[in-house]
Subunit: 325 residues, 2 copies
């Protein structure tokens, strides 16, 4: 086990709450269409002037407040977003700046699309275990609304903006019992934003649509389903536990069908699964840590609990962790 302790967590949402009824009106659908199609009752959208890092800093400040810590108490800030604020520098730099983290504290990003938080958690545990850092903040913030293609019926209705921050310390008891991440590049184009980097930019004839999120939901489902059973079995086996030993499952809040499929596949009751999807939508990389925050804040998980963090990311990647609190 890699020792790890969650000192605190925090979240932040933009002011603008958008119900599925409002989307019905905006997109000229019959009343009830967007909610029944997406499973999302409401989600939050940033207005055009909000910078991603400002929302991330709010989540970090919430986590600091709950831990009764000053920003100077952090040794490292890891940004864990799917899409950055800008290509250069790292989003963590802006988050640290807006949260008042003192100059000199290192800030860099980890990017594993929707599972950036999970991977950052694993990397942070490694950095804490070898004693270089005492306290690390992982901050995930995504503004999916900036990349929604309103002409894509499937992908446009599921997303919401949001931020979550987790403050980590060296473990004394709890920690990572197992971690797995598996990438299937045959699915590299099942979820993508083609723009934003060197492949499609103004110098190589990019078009505005290159900056919108594209998803082949059926393809993702097919490829993920093919591997998920064995993946979870291996993850539990590595930890030396069975599903019966898991107190709570914290899935990436990908979609209502995805969460429900996962729950049925694992064969667990709804009360053993965290589901904040209907009131937040899929918050991309902020989704899993937001769900984790809600579980901790709602006393559904506490010291001694064993969690299964699990999900898929663009790549296509599967990621999971057995985490003892």
């Amino acid at each position: 086990m890699i020792p790890l302790r969650i000192r605190s967590s925090g979240v932040a949402l933009p002011d603008n709450c958008v119900t599925s009824g409002e989307l019905d009106s905006m997109l000229h659908h019959a009343r009830g269409y967007c909610e029944s199609r997406s499973g999302v009752a409401q989600r939050y959208f940033a207005d055009g002037s909000l910078r991603q890092s400002r929302l991330g800093a709010q989540a970090l400040q919430d986590a600091l407040r709950r831990a009764d810590l000053a920003p100077a108490g952090l040794d490292l800030v890891i940004g864990a977003c799917a899409v950055p604020e800008q290509a250069i520098p790292a989003t963590a730099v802006f988050i640290a700046q807006h949260a008042g983290v003192p100059a000199g504290v290192p800030a860099f990003d980890v990017n594993a699309s929707c599972l950036s938080f999970l991977v950052a958690l694993r990397l942070a545990a490694g950095m804490l275990a070898d004693q270089q850092y005492r306290r690390i903040a992982v901050v995930a913030v995504d503004l999916a609304s900036r990349g929604i293609d309103w002409d894509a019926p499937e992908a446009s209705l599921i997303f919401g903006d949001g931020a979550a921050a987790i403050i980590l310390e060296r473990g004394a008891g709890g920690g990572i019992e197992s971690f797995r991440y598996a990438t299937y590049p045959e699915g590299a184009r099942l979820c993508q934003i083609r723009g934003g980097g060197t492949a499609h930019n103004p110098r190589t004839a990019a078009v505005p649509a290159d900056y919108l999120f594209q998803m082949d939901g059926k393809g993702v489902f097919r490829l993920a389903s093919q591997h998920m059973g064995a993946f979870v079995a291996d993850l539990l086996c590595d930890a030396g536990v069975t599903l019966a030993d898991i107190d709570l499952v914290v899935p990436h809040q990908a979609s209502h069908l995805g969460i429900e499929h996962m729950r049925r596949q694992l064969g667990i009751a709804p009360e053993r699964m965290v589901d904040i999807y209907a009131r937040h939508g899929n918050q991309v990389a902020a989704s899993m840590p937001s769900a984790l925050h809600h579980a901790l804040d709602g006393q559904r998980a506490s010291t001694g609990s064993r969690l299964l963090l699990i999900g898929t990311a663009a790549g296509l990647s599967l990621g999971g962790m057995v985490l003892a609190l």
Copy 2:
């Protein structure tokens, strides 16, 4: 010390070598202007059709060949680029795909701008030390040419495209004797590409110039100089060594003035410093691992050598490592 062994390294360059004389013609400067101004005799530029990940895969294949390894011998691929190929998914996914890395091998990115490789090296060492992975490839590839603003006299002449890959294993004798990374967000806008993320995209009225690299070279120099002396002293102190114990310095190849200033500040002879800048330019995140590759390939460093890896990144960040081979 965190045990770490460099099993092999590899590099790749695009076909198109551009001399400073050619730039003089293209930019209507007097013969000799571009080389004297930038210190770069030649650099390599990808043509418009080359994908970043293809070049990264070539470097990874070069490193695999030199280690006599098949792609199946890798347990993890970390992408360490300053700018990705596209916003989603991670560049490492495409690199793994093009290099023939088997499905299921995890692939994600670490982003610390020009020092992404240095940070990835530190994180990889942590993942190897706790025994989860046996062999990790870190691949840095940047196509700076896609973001050069030809109207910016300072920043336009220094960059070149390139890729480098390092294959890492658990250490037997060598390893990381010290690592430091320090971020000064007051310098967050000294080096930047404003586009590519959520801040400036077609939905928030981006203009083509947002996708070009901007640099305030004097500002970078001023802020970096202010902190570099103490930073290096602390880094050496952490490792319990002095500069006399360092066999070779591998700096980020930022600029000829930057490298020369670093050399004078450290007070070391040119033969103790790796300088590939004049024939490659600043290859962004690929710069430091390319310099490391040249040092290893040219027998300037080998088992038993102690290296100082050092540089600055957009952020503004300072990063360094004392690495015993």
